[in-house]
Amino acid sequence: MSINATLIGQMITFTLLVWFTMKYIWPPLIGAIEERKSKIAEGLAAAEKGQEDMERAAKKAANVLREAKQQSADIVNLAQKRANEIVEESKGTAKQEGARMIEAAQAQIEQEMQRAQEQMRKEVSALALKAAGQILQQEIDNAKHKELLGKVSEQLGQA
């Protein structure tokens, strides 16, 4: 159990090992580790940012959707109102038109009636003259009895 030259040999081996580790082993490995660490940190940050962006986008989309819904509801309301208006308007127009048409028809009927009355009066007076002529068996002188005839035809017209 004595200390001897083995010690020196071991020290040399140790020195070589440390030198080699320092030169060829530690730097590349620790470099890779650090680089990966920073990469992971970047990735995590990016992921977080992406998440935030997504949330913001979702919020924005919800807003847009709500606005669109509101807008469409407004449009529907407006359209309904407009339709009601149009219906009311056409109702009014139709009524007016109807009234006008009725009026025209009535006027026409009146006219026809008058014309028929006129014709009837003429025919009746002619018929009456004929009948009266036959009854009297004599010629009625239009010129002589003008006044009388006029009276009769007037009376007939009033009847």
Partner: protein
Amino acid sequence: MASEEHAAEGATGYIVHHLTPLSVGEGFWTLHLDTLFFSAVLGALFIWFFKVAAEKATIGVPGTSQAFVEMIIEFVDQQVKDTFHGKSELIAPLGLTIFVWVFMWNFMDLFPVDILPLVASMMGMEYMRVVPSTDLNATFALSISVFLLIIFYSIKIKGVFGFAKELTCTPFGPWMMPFNLLLKLVEEIAKPISLALRLFGNLYAGELIFILIALLPWYIQPLLGFPWAIFHILIITLQAFIFMVLTIVYLSMAHEDH
């Protein structure tokens, strides 16, 4: 030093045989070939495994070996960052080397105590002590290297004068100079000695217990050997970790300028 001699002594002979290193040379110039061989092989294994991982290192998804190596690297790096607040190219790789190398030394302890010596004896080698950390030379080689680094950095950071001042004028001021110096010398020299002896003691004792278990009847051996091996996994990791952490602490103390 013949094996027959030991064999004749029964249990004691078995134990002593197991704890005798394969050595060449005489006196101070004795070399423990087993210690040198196994620590070099383990060191080469460490270098090879980590070098391959370092060459294939990618910042993308790491492979299995890279992930494993990175786990160790990050573990060591974290220890260094927690303790040492300067900037140093050396300390973290030094810590890594110590941690992995010492762990591998200690791991040799988990091989069944008779296997490698048996193989060695087949190859004509009489003695074989496979755990380098049961050799004081190995543990002291580490701790003395660390000690030299402590002195080097103390002088580099604080200057010769600053270091001398720290040795002589703290903790009690310049009027107690001899006493301060004595205190400081003990403090400094205690560092490598405690580092080396702690590791050596733990592993030597652990190995000794494995050898003692191996002396028991075969049906008791698993009963004791298995729990002890499990427990020993903790010890070998812990000792490697302690050696690394204390090295980092001592070196960061050397870097601190008062």
